[in-house]
């Protein structure tokens, strides 16, 4: 098949899947939130409220699109576009299904065989902060500006542990290409999934990714109680929808990365291994990968309604005082294991030890404030 046509088809599939997926994930999130809070959730439009996402989408399209008179129009219109574009671009190098090295067949990936894979994703998704900053700045509104300032500080800080946490995987796999990373885990079976060798990195990556995508408990850029709506206060209708879509797409991308980099992608013992060539194996592998992704997204939703929001200094402290040193230690340990060709299983106890050491360090009492002279 003409590679141009097949790529266009893939782009169509990915875009359609992400847009549809996003709207139904919002439905799922509303349902999960409702169940957690002993409510019913959307149940008016269609059976179980299943048509609710379509109604919401129609509402976004048909609502009056207000552009306040005091905004910088060019930047105001540019911001949501940048947000959506960057998050969508990141999906280009994510394998959405099993891929092969055979370049003539159709690949479940927009741009197969990109060696800078993860670096590309981080480079592009960190551009998403431009959308937020421009949105907040162009709105010419103090709440939006505060929200975007918080967002920029947060995203820039968490980029470091995010990038650092996947260095270990790059060292173990010898590649930044997501397909290669996935292939190495798939060939070794469940015992060689990266989660066993990099559990600490997985935790840091997941938490930093939550912060990157501005999800709770790190949603300071848009915390409703303090900032009205944060950087998208002035946005309405489709432009607000685009910000929303960008945020959700980010969560999807991150979940794909979690599933592919740490949980073996489409690999699952017995039913989806590189050797399974039974009829429909492709479908099974596809389903396994997407089940893992869905599980990750559901976990993000569960966390959202479980953890309270961080204070801003706690947020910064977590990134700079905990995650960056921890991920550095993790990288050093991984280098050590690689350099001296030790068993990779050493990395599991080492990660646990690092967590325990962190706990012990934060347990040591901080220097007491000068005792009151009145106490003795």
């Amino acid at each position: 098949m003409n590679p141009l046509i097949s790529t266009l088809i893939t782009i169509g599939v990915v875009l359609g899947g992400v847009l549809g997926g996003c709207s139904y994930l919002i439905w799922l999130e509303r349902k999960v939130a409702a169940w957690m809070q002993d409510r019913v959730g959307p149940n008016r439009v269609g059976k179980f409220g299943l048509l609710q996402p379509i109604a919401d989408g129609m509402k976004f399209l048909l609502k009056e699109d207000v552009i306040p008179s005091h905004v910088n129009k060019v930047l105001f219109l540019l911001a949501p576009t940048i947000s959506v574009m960057t998050t969508m671009l990141a999906l280009a190098v994510v394998p959405i299904g099993p891929t092969t090295t055979d370049s003539t067949s159709w690949q479940a990936m927009i741009a197969p065989g990109i060696d800078i894979g993860i670096v590309f994703i981080f480079a592009v998704t960190s551009l998403a902060v431009y959308g937020i900053i421009l949105g907040g700045w162009a709105s010419n509104n103090k709440y939006s500006a505060l929200g975007s300032l918080r967002a920029s500080a947060q995203v820039v800080s968490y980029e470091i542990p995010l990038g650092m946490s996947i260095l270990g995987i790059a060292l173990l796999s010898g590649s930044l290409n997501l397909e290669t990373i996935l292939q190495r885990q798939a060939e070794g079976g469940i015992g060689s999934w990266n989660i066993w060798f990099q559990p600490l990195a997985a935790m840091i990556f997941f938490t930093s990714a939550l912060a990157e995508s501005n999800r709770l408990p790190f949603d300071l850029p848009e915390c409703e109680q303090e900032l009205v709506g944060g950087y998208h206060t002035e946005y309405s209708a489709l432009k607000f929808g685009m910000f929303f879509l960008a945020e959700y797409t980010h969560v999807i991308t991150v979940s794909f990365l979690m599933a592919i980099m740490f949980f073996g992608g489409w690999n699952f013992p017995w039913i989806a291994t590189p050797d399974s060539h039974y009829a429909g194996a492709w479908i099974v592998k596809f389903a396994v990968l997407h089940t893992k992704v869905l599980a990750c997204i559901t976990f993000v939703m569960l966390l959202r309604w479980t953890l309270p929001r961080f204070r801003f200094d706690q947020l910064m402290g977590l990134a700079w005082k905990v995650f960056i040193p921890l991920s550095l230690c993790n990288v050093v340990c991984t280098m050590f294991v690689r350099q001296f060709s030790l068993s990779w299983w050493w990395l599991l106890p080492v990660s646990l030890a690092l967590v325990i050491i962190t706990g012990l360090i934060s347990m040591t009492p901080s220097p007491k404030r000068a005792a009151s002279p009145l106490q003795h």
Binding site: L303, T306, S362
Partner: protein, 207 residues
């Protein structure tokens, strides 16, 4: 008066134990609670249009004008309710009564249900139990004019609600509605609160 040293209580931050300082058990505990609610979902939502809420018998909803035993409007157009109304939402046009037993009757009796604050003062003020608040609350209209309830509308609300088990019980004379039969069951192990006893000082000679 200045604060004494011995009155000052110095509070210090509680020290975290090892597990507390990793925050992981706390997160797991929180997840246990939230996930537990997903699988053990005791929904408290009442799906309103299908399920009507079980309102208390003394709920103050939309008004009605009571009829007497002969089906005539009970109101004698004394303007007590309109005077008592803090929202000034009652308009009465009095006219000579066509009946022997009273002097006046309301030719027009309009309540602006949008202005009304549903305080029940009209009901309290009425000397002949002619106006009452029912437990109906889901009233709506397309225009403001529609929400001006006239005498016919208010009498028709009486016709609709008089047979309901939630017929008002707040009348202080005449025949009580069915809701007066409702016995509010006390949860076991709870004693009813004692009635407040208002005692007057013995040397109060004003009365």
């Amino acid at each position: 008066m200045a604060i004494q040293d011995k009155e000052i209580c110095w509070v210090s931050e509680p020290e975290l134990s090892f597990w507390e300082s990793t925050f992981l058990p706390a997160i797991a505990q929180g997840l246990k609670t939230t996930v537990g609610h997903i699988f053990d979902n005791k929904t408290v939502t009442q799906e309103f249009p299908e399920v009507k809420p079980n309102l208390p018998a003394n709920f103050k909803g939309v008004h009605r004008l009571n009829r007497d035993d002969e089906g005539r409007v009970k109101c004698v157009a004394c303007f007590m309710c309109a005077t008592a109304c803090p929202a000034h939402c009652i308009y009465i046009d009095a006219a000579e009564a066509p009946w022997e037993d009273r002097d006046k009757y309301p030719e027009r009796f309009v309540i602006d249900e949008l202005k009304c604050i549903y305080c029940g003062m009209c009901e309290e003020a009425c000397p002949c139990d002619a106006i009452e608040l029912t437990s109906e609350f889901d009233i709506s209209g397309q225009t403001r004019e529609e929400m001006l309830y006239d005498k016919d509308k208010l009498l028709s609300i009486f016709d609709q609600t008089v047979k309901l088990p939630k017929d008002p019980v707040r009348t202080h004379g005449g025949v009580l509605g069915p809701a007066s039969e409702i016995v509010q069951p006390m949860p076991p192990g709870k004693v009813p609160p004692p009635l407040p006893i208002i005692s007057r000082p013995a040397n109060d000679s004003s009365h």
